[in-house]
Amino acid sequence: MSPLYVYAVVDPGAAPPAVRGMAGEPLQVVPCGAVAALVGSIERAPELEAAALRAHDAAVRAIADGVAALLPARFGTVVAGTDALREGLEPRGEALQAALAEVRGREQMTLRLSAGEGSGDPDPGPAVAGGPGTRYLDARSGAGLRRRPQVARVLDGLRELVRAERVEPIDRPPLLGTVYHLIDRGGAAEYLARLETLRPEAPSLRMAASGPWPPYAFAEATGP
């Protein structure tokens, strides 16, 4: 039996998409309990190359066009066969179903934030009470980033368009972090236009948005 390359987790009733995989292989739907996986038979794991990454992304985007909900798989996910796949996914059926419900009819925008150059922090948030442990957990959760006044104004300004949010702080000035937003499909132009109107609210923030993307950042909470 050939190894299987995993592209995405989808609803159990999904029809096999008329999409080819990275190696031109047809895709199969493998039922895995409460969800299903879209996979292709391959000879060997792909090398980590730009072309392979683009091919994986292209396949996931093509799959997304044909289904209302999908959780993209991480690049390079290869399993020995259908038994191994079921063993990996079936025990997490409930969590994966919840993640599918969250991304249904939605797509991802990525917003990267950095502080402007110059001495000192132009937009510090209020200090957190408590010891080093509390401050560490606060910073890690992204709460500190959300409390920065300019960041808060931007996130509040986008709120109406955002269905879910993940924040990844980066503690390396001037980099502040990345915010992943789940928006309704087809809403990217409105999101980007709204962001432009918010730039005056955040004069010392540098912001770069990209998308729409398949909801990569909203699939990882289901991982081990």
Binding site: V6, A45, R54, T77, V78, G88, W213, Y216
Partner: protein
């Protein structure tokens, strides 16, 4: 391709793809994954986040 070169040669779209595909997405439990030969995902995660964020940011407004 070596992962450092992958990052150094990348344009902003590829950096976003790297961030999404290598640090996000559903993970099927580790013991059933056969291989992604020679890739140090931890190294990639850190490097990519730092490099990608830096390069994707527009210049400050005048």
């Amino acid at each position: 391709m070596d992962e450092r070169r992958l990052i150094e040669d990348a344009d902003s779209t590829l950096l976003d793809i790297v961030d999404n595909l290598l640090t996000k997405g559903v993970v099927v439990t580790g013991d059933v994954v056969l291989s992604l030969a020679g890739v140090d995902l931890i190294y990639l995660r850190v490097s990519v986040l730092l490099c990608a964020a830096d390069r994707l940011l527009p210049p400050l407004p005048p």
